[in-house]
């Protein structure tokens, strides 16, 4: 193949993924239709994640007015928000609860999109940007966890970053040092400290949200360009208009989500789910309290990490990442039935590890 041909082919490839003739209000909004069938509920998951992202933006900006990203003041400023600022406890709890809900919505969205084969041609870009969004969401969760600078935050971050360094032992020669260098670049100094806090703050507040918005733009554009994937094998019961019928239903779902989030955030402080010593200010000279754990959405990775040799997890997560990125090409000839079974298995694994992870851990470790 010569150069002009390569250019021509890639041009055709991009043109098929981003058809210019469809980039109009009438094609993307007025004419778009949504299939109605037994799996239609899955079409709301992406919108729900988007809604929670919006909540995170608003509450996050509100928190910025009071939060102070220094090791001496971070914890005190968070306490100040919860205990003294009028409405601060609601804002902070909404931020904490909505982050969990957003990640739950994103996970379900990923699994249902997989089960419905929503990644099939020409929607590869939608899927790949979605996987990138998943990564950014987890990154936001990880960086945000450190910011209150309490015992569990700093210690869990230490553990998380240390596992980056652990990779070094499997690399040959001079490369063995690379993961340590990467780790120290991320944390900015030899141990988790002020430099780490500043970096995580910048990541959490500016860099990752900007990356999120850019990727989200691409994701939503391709969703609107190609319309909803049909999702099932047979013909759908009927089609409904995206605008306004489906969009109004989407809004109603958001309304429900908001009320649930509001009531929970108002009535259940997020920290009441954990033991109180974990939320004391980080004390670098004291011993680490029991029960240091990452947030629940990392359990699926954390408990296997505790139980199995590190290299198993390393290989496993590398393969998982590669499979997620390559899904549109790996599974392009797989039937929806097989995909659904795979998705159910994955959902089962996530559910069991998240809910019963601790029991499983104690079962094997005594």
């Amino acid at each position: 193949m010569n150069l002009p041909e390569i250019i021509k082919n890639s041009e055709a490839y991009v043109a098929e993924r981003f058809p210019v003739e469809k980039m109009s209000y009438s094609a993307m909004v007025v004419k778009k239709e949504v299939p109605v069938h037994r799996l239609s509920w899955a079409y709301y998951m992406g919108g729900l994640a988007l809604f929670f992202f919006g909540v995170q933006m608003v509450t996050g900006l509100l928190l910025l007015f009071y939060y102070q990203p220094t090791v001496s003041d971070a914890h005190a400023s968070v306490e100040f928000i919860t205990d003294h600022v009028p409405g601060g406890s609601l804002v902070r709890n909404m931020h904490a609860w909505a982050s969990s809900m957003m990640i739950a919505a994103v996970m379900v969205h990923l699994l249902t999109a997989f089960a419905m084969k929503a990644f099939a041609k020409p929607r590869e870009i939608t899927w790949v940007t979605g996987v990138v969004l998943l990564g950014i969401t987890f990154g936001l969760g990880f960086t945000g966890y450190l910011l209150p600078w309490h015992q569990v935050a700093v210690n869990a971050t230490k553990i998380g970053l240390q596992s980056v360094q652990e990779v070094g032992q499997y690399l040959p020669g001079a490369m063995a040092e690379w993961p340590r260098i990467v780790k120290e670049t991320i944390q900015g100094e030899a141990a988790v400290g002020q430099a780490t806090l500043s970096r995580f703050f910048a990541l959490h507040v500016i860099i990752l949200p900007l990356a999120m918005m850019a990727t989200l733009g691409l994701h939503l554009l391709s969703v609107q360009l190609h319309g909803m994937s049909r999702g099932i094998d047979g013909p759908p019961k009927r089609q409904e208009k995206f605008f306004p019928t489906f969009f109004i239903k989407d809004l109603t779902v958001w309304g429900f989500a908001f009320i649930i989030l509001f009531v929970i955030a108002l009535c259940v402080p997020f920290e009441s789910l954990y033991s109180y010593p974990l939320f004391e200010p980080f004390n670098p000279k004291g011993s680490t309290p029991d029960g240091i754990k990452p947030e629940w959405y990392f359990y699926f990775l954390y408990y296997p990490l505790e139980l199995l040799p590190f290299w198993v997890i390393l290989v496993g997560s590398t393969v998982l990442g590669a499979v997620l990125m390559g899904t549109p090409w790996i599974f392009q000839n797989t039937s929806r039935r097989t995909l659904q079974i795979l998705a159910v298995l994955a959902a089962l694994y996530l559910f069991v590890m998240t809910v019963f992870g601790e029991q499983i851990y104690h079962m094997f470790k005594g």
Binding site: I248, G255, S272, S275, S287
Partner: protein, 222 residues
């Protein structure tokens, strides 16, 4: 649990000696040793923590618990940190002495090494009874006043003691009980928010319907 009760902080360089240490560099000085001795004298006879209660609560509730449930410092009373014996000034030491002599219930206790809940315990049952309870920490729950709720979060202190949650933090407690209490307390706000959300979603929905119909009319006219 014992490892938690110990205090790593008092083992570091004694604070007053640090500037001196800078002056004398690698030359240990007599004043420095004296300072260390002073800290030692202040802190060593204070081994009066009661880890029995902590162990009981941690075991019965399944939650991680530390000294901060009753003490001012989460590493307990020993040491030189804030709220620890090595950190007290003369007035606070006097308060400590008075609190330690409150053997009978009903005295106004304001010990600088205890938090509000710790003081509440000593005030309610007296020091003598409290020391007796070391052998059966579960009975503390029967002796404390059942209605007292120091943090006003709707969960009585006794219940919080058994649950292993902090009785002086209204954000800490059994999530279900907290939900019940806060839901009742915020019913008006919740009802108004519900009304606003329903109103807004209903209005937006109709507005979008109208917009769609209007743009259809425009299309047919064109």
């Amino acid at each position: 649990m014992n490892s938690k009760a110990s205090n790593p902080r008092d083992a570091g360089t004694p604070r007053p000696g640090k500037e001196l240490a800078e002056q004398f560099l690698n030359f240990p000085s007599v004043p420095l040793c004296l300072c260390g001795l002073l800290v030692f004298l202040l802190s060593s006879p204070s081994a009066l923590a009661y880890p029995e209660f902590q162990a009981f609560v941690a075991k019965s509730s399944g939650r991680t618990v530390n000294c901060a449930m009753c003490h001012a410092n989460s590493d307990g009373p020993e040491g030189t940190g804030p709220g620890q014996i090595g950190h007290l000034n003369a007035a606070e030491l006097e308060r400590l002495g008075r609190a330690r002599s409150a053997l009978q219930p009903g005295q106004n206790v304001d010990s600088p090494i205890l938090n509000a809940f710790g003081n509440h315990i000593i005030k309610s049952i007296g020091k003598e009874k409290f020391v007796e309870l070391k052998v059966s920490p579960a009975h503390l729950a029967d002796l404390l006043p059942p209605d007292s709720d120091l943090d006003q979060d709707g969960i009585p202190d006794v219940r919080e003691y058994l649950d292993g949650t902090l009785p002086i933090n209204h954000n800490d407690g059994n999530p279900l009980l907290l939900f019940r209490h806060n839901f009742r307390a915020n019913l008006v706000a919740i009802a108004l928010t519900l009304a606003a959300t329903v109103c807004g979603v209903w209005g937006l929905g109709h507005l979008l319907h109208g917009l769609a119909a209007a743009s259809r009319i425009k299309d047919t006219e064109d």
